[in-house]
């Protein structure tokens, strides 16, 4: 984005100027939203792609173009966010926990620009922070995994080893043990650097090693690495659980379900609220009760989920909403004791 050839950029500017002249009365309330995707890339079929779906929906509904940038190395985050703000983009949406330090810095430099970040809290008066109760959604798919598992062993493959991913793992473990107290949960992390979000080969190897240990359902919370996990499950004829976006379509028949994190809705709301002057800074926590997380059931996995399983998961879901089941949040005390 930043690096469009100059001539192209000029053409765009000229085009924009011309259309502004033609229309004449482009309203001042028109927003110029911008989004900065993180390292997985906007087509990671997962987290970033969820955001992409949300902002595309905004574009098709309002006809307002947005600016975008895909970060490919860590140094670009701050540059990208600052460039967006400098060019008058408002609001600027940063995707992923890793953008928090950069976004905090840039948001201070541009106090009149509205910023939003997904998956992390940046406590500034012009920033909306959206976080999800991933542990609640993971609890549901954990329960479903334990219901579907024949061996009583379920697996988890995380991306980068950070507290956020441990929160997924911890919720998943609680869900599995809620259904089957003897369930064994085998957990692996792909790596300790951001490259772990995009390493399908290693994801596949980790999954194979879990299958060898008797696991028959595996849940991946690993961004682009998950692609390798789902492929390994398909090759072995075992079940896999997707994450963030609905990934059931990727391998119908071996995708048990997907843990939905409605980043698309969150991203859409950031843009829409800004357009309608309804943007509110502060922290939004989206859990099961707010429909911010959930599990996916569609034509691709309905044959794998029996009526009984569905009923059980819905019952669990209702209990979490009512507070009858309390799901421990790993990040509240950095342990998984519940």
């Amino acid at each position: 984005m930043n690096f469009l050839p100059k001539s192209t950029f000029k053409t765009i500017l000229l085009g924009a100027a011309a259309s502004a002249l033609l229309v004449g009365t482009a309203s001042a309330a028109d927003v110029q939203p911008a989004v900065v995707f993180d390292m997985g890339g906007k087509f990671d079929k997962s987290f970033n792609q969820g955001v992409y779906d949300g902002v595309e929906k905004f574009k098709s509904e309002t006809g307002i173009e947005y600016r975008e940038f895909e970060v490919t190395n860590e140094a670009q985050r701050e540059q990208a966010l600052r460039r967006m703000a400098q060019r008058g983009a408002d609001p600027v949406l940063g995707i992923g926990f890793a953008q928090a330090p950069a976004l905090e810095k840039v948001a201070k430099e541009f106090p009149d620009t509205r910023f939003a970040i997904i998956d992390m809290v940046v406590d500034l008066p012009n920033v909306r922070s959206i976080v999800f109760k991933e542990h609640e959604g993971s609890f549901l798919v954990g329960a479903l995994a334990a219901l579907a598992s024949e061996s009583g062993k379920v697996g988890f493959v995380g991306g980068m080893d950070i507290p956020l991913i441990r929160r997924f793992a911890c919720g998943y473990e609680q869900g599995a043990k809620h259904i089957n107290a003897d369930a064994e949960v085998v957990q692996n992390m792909t790596g300790t650097t951001p490259a772990a979000w995009n390493d399908p080969g290693r994801g596949g190897e980790l999954t194979k090693s879990q299958f060898e240990r008797g696991v028959d359902v595996v849940y991946a919370a690993a961004g682009g690495t998950g692609v390798g996990v789902y492929q390994a499950a398909k090759d072995a004829g075992k079940l896999a659980i997707g994450v963030d976006s609905n990934q059931n379509y990727m391998h119908p028949g071996t995708m048990l379900t997907s843990m939905l994190k409605r980043v698309d809705v969150a991203a859409y709301n950031v843009f829409m609220d800004s357009k309608n002057d309804a943007f509110t800074p502060g922290i939004q926590v989206l859990g099961l009760a707010e429909e911010g997380v959930g599990w996916a059931l569609d034509e691709h996995n309905e044959s794998l989920v029996t009526g009984e399983m569905k009923a059980t998961v819905e019952e669990v879901s209702a209990k979490i909403k009512s507070g009858e089941i309390k799901v421990h949040d790993y990040t509240s005390d950095n342990t998984c004791d519940y």
């Binding site: 957990q187 995009n198 080969g201 596949g204 492929q231 090759d235």
Partner: protein, 326 residues
């Protein structure tokens, strides 16, 4: 947590070692041909990446793994020829040329991938028919019952895809070509003393060009393995530095085929072990932090380099462009 040292775990670790080492072995043999002829080849990574992309693309479009493999080899050989054109014909700097190929591959695969498939640089996921799937070797079931060798044959040796066996075969073939044929003798000579070869009336350029083309072909197979055998699609930067690791393994092996293969297997084994040690309680020490496990291959590399392999002597004429005396 289950015990670490069950027979099944040990066998599955060896099994994974072979899977992970395959691209390393192929690339190490590629580097060996090139460097034995006196051409430094740090472009193993770029050639493998381009080949992987070509394989992923062709398999997705045509549905045939054989077409994909062929295309991967062609693309990789072409890049080898570019390398040769720059540093044999025009006597350019070999490291710079190699680096340029790596940068080109890293950028071009993503750009073309986005332009053709709009999936963020990935190629579409492949169906089983367009990939090299695991083969069951003959007698695997029959021999399974024999204690010792039986389970080893059944779970470690058998059940890989074709390209794994190609990689394993590439090692003795490389050895035979380099040490037992006239071509090999000349190849080694041209890497040590090109002037002598030239004096004997043999074309140095021609020998070096054949070496970079062989290297290209082997990298092509390695790339195809990544995209259509081990995985089911090309993903951006999927080589993840394996080309460099193969280069290191080849230097570990002192530019000789068998030791280079052993070095590759060691890297692969450490990787497989690190995957299996995650989250497992070890006797005495308890659960080892994941960071330490993942650093293990690098720590061992340093230790081995420092203490065990002794001096690695490169071919004498490596990196020196040859100017024919007139």
């Amino acid at each position: 947590m289950d015990s670490v040292l069950t027979l099944q775990t040990v066998l599955s670790t060896f099994d994974a070692t072979l899977r992970v080492s395959t691209p390393l072995i192929l690339c190490a043999m590629a580097g060996l041909f090139s460097e034995r002829s006196g051409i430094i080849d740090i472009s193993l990574e770029g050639k493998m990446l381009s080949a992987a992309f070509a394989a992923g693309t062709l398999a997705a479009v045509t549905g045939s793994p054989w077409v994909a493999l062929g295309g991967a080899i062609v693309v990789s050989v072409l890049l080898g020829l570019v390398h040769g054109f720059a540093c044999i014909t025009h006597r350019g700097d070999q490291v710079v040329s190699g680096l340029a190929i790596n940068v080109l591959a890293s950028g071009l695969t993503i750009v073309l991938g986005i332009a053709w498939f709009s999936q963020g640089g990935q190629t579409p996921a492949l169906a089983s028919e367009s990939r090299f799937m695991p083969l069951q070797l003959p007698f695997a079931e029959t021999l399974k019952g024999i204690p010792g060798i039986g389970p080893f044959y059944e779970s470690v040796i058998s059940g890989h895809n074709l390209l794994v066996y190609v990689a394993l075969l590439a090692v003795p073939i490389t050895w035979w070509v380099v040490y037992k044929t006239r071509f090999g003798l000349r190849l080694r000579a041209v890497g040590e003393n090109p002037l002598a070869v030239d004096t004997a009336g043999i074309s140095v350029s021609r020998l070096r060009f054949s070496a970079v083309m062989i290297a290209g072909a082997l990298c092509g197979i390695a790339g195809a393995y990544l995209a259509i055998a081990q995985n089911a699609a090309f993903a951006r930067e999927m080589t993840a530095g394996q080309g460099y690791i193969a280069l290191a393994a080849m230097i570990f092996g002192k530019w000789r085929p068998l030791p280079a293969m052993l070095a590759c297997l060691m890297f692969g084994f450490l990787d497989a072990v690190s995957i299996r040690l995650q989250g497992i309680e070890l006797p005495i020490v308890g659960e080892v932090p994941v960071q330490l496990i993942q650093a293990l291959p690098y720590i061992l590399t340093v230790v081995l380099l420092a203490g065990f392999i002794g001096r690695a002597v490169a071919p004498k004429a490596i990196g020196v462009p040859f100017s024919k005396e007139r």
